[in-house]
Amino acid sequence: METEPLKRFLLREGATLVGVGDVTPALSAEISHLNRGIAIAVNRSLGAETVELLSGLQDLASGWLKVRGFRSLLIPPDSDRRKAKYITKLYKLFCHKTAATCSGLGWIGKNGLLINRQYGSKLSWATVLTNAPFVPDEPTSESECGTCELCVTHCPSQALEGHLWSVRDPLRVLVQYDKCRALKSRRTALDERPNCGFCITVCPYSRKSSRRKSIRQ
């Protein structure tokens, strides 16, 4: 089954990037029948408006699949913030980064975030899992960070290990998340703003995307 019609549809509705990946190896038993992951990205910071747009795109994708007789499971963009429902139990079984790398939209950088060649880490993601037999896109299997270590040296909490991600070594720890979280909670206590984001700001791929935007403006 071709992915082009669905991709064109979602791009027209406001998605920045859409990819379809074969996510079979990343699935646990509960969702093993949904072996295609549709990664949808929007080039905006994660705010209420972006979440709304992404959720809308997910619903559109789900509807598109439904009329063609396929199942889908929507993993919302803010899956970690949604609780208190049964379906949220399944969200943590799958992460957006997996769908994105499986559909070749980027790799996982030394900062532990998904990096897209064009937009860097300045994307917000949502995932639709489906059993539609799509021909998957070519996956990304290796990091393209190379020798760049800007995020590692600039991280204020020294949380980044500086390892290169590879699909063959998925268990390798790239980020000491407890250190990262500790800094964020300290900052929240100080000025009520948890955000750090140095590892995004210094990343050449992310900077490239903002520079391009400023030229256009």
Partner: protein
């Protein structure tokens, strides 16, 4: 009072809302039932629960999978939240409280939560201990709440081995307490061997068992009403 046609229409809406995992329809249907002054217990059993029975059947027929079941459960709760405050306490001769949890060392709780839901629906007082629960906590909680039923769940053989210890302790202190065990590694034989009273293999079976139990309660209730 409303006529039967309107009543059935509302129940049908609740039932289909659960089957189609449409939370809004369930909420709407529940509100309509309340506004029309229908019996909340009846709306739960003839609407929501009969929808969930159909979901159980669809799961068995492999038309539904775990994600659909969970979405149906969410839809059922959406309706239940509205109907629950209007429920009359069912007089079934049992006080109806249950202690439920996933045993120490295990963090899988999808199946446990589905069973919990059906107990909730049936009007039980549910004491949910959550997951990765220390063995003695079950015993203490049972004594504290004087519950008639204790449900133990485990997904892994390594955590399952804690079950007989709990059963032994509870039965020693309170021989009348019913104990149900469930989860992928458990079996009917093990349940018998350990002295458990009920057994459910996995989430779908647990759901089925719980539905059966609720259906049984429903029958009891109908018989009571006839008298």
């Amino acid at each position: 009072m409303v006529d039967d046609a309107r009543k059935n229409e509302i129940y049908e809406k609740l039932k289909n809302g659960v089957i189609q995992y449409d939370e809004d329809a369930c909420r709407e249907g529940a509100q309509e039932a309340v506004d029309a002054g229908l019996d909340a217990n009846e709306a739960i059993f003839d609407g929501l629960v009969s929808g969930m029975e159909e979901v159980g059947r669809l799961f068995e027929a492999q038309e539904y999978f775990v994600p659909e079941i969970l979405m149906c459960a969410d839809a059922l709760y959406a309706g239940l939240d509205i109907l629950k405050p209007h429920c009359k306490q069912m007089d079934l001769g049992v006080k109806g409280s249950v202690v439920i949890g996933t045993v120490e060392g295990d963090v899988h709780d999808i199946g446990k939560n589905l069973v919990k839901m059906m107990f909730d629906v049936a009007g039980f007082n549910v004491y949910d201990l959550g997951r990765d629960v220390p063995l003695d906590k079950f015993v203490d909680e049972q004594l504290k709440t004087d519950s008639e039923i204790v449900c133990l769940s485990a997904m892994m053989t390594t955590s399952m081995v804690g079950m007989p210890k709990i059963i032994e302790k509870i039965k020693a202190k309170n021989p009348d307490c019913m104990i149900m065990i469930g989860g992928a590694p458990t079996s009917k034989e093990l349940a018998d061997k350990w002295g458990a009273d009920g057994y459910a293999e996995d989430a779908s079976n647990a759901l089925k068992e719980a539905i059966k139990m609720v259906a049984f309660l429903k029958k009891l209730r109908e018989e009571k009403l006839k008298k």
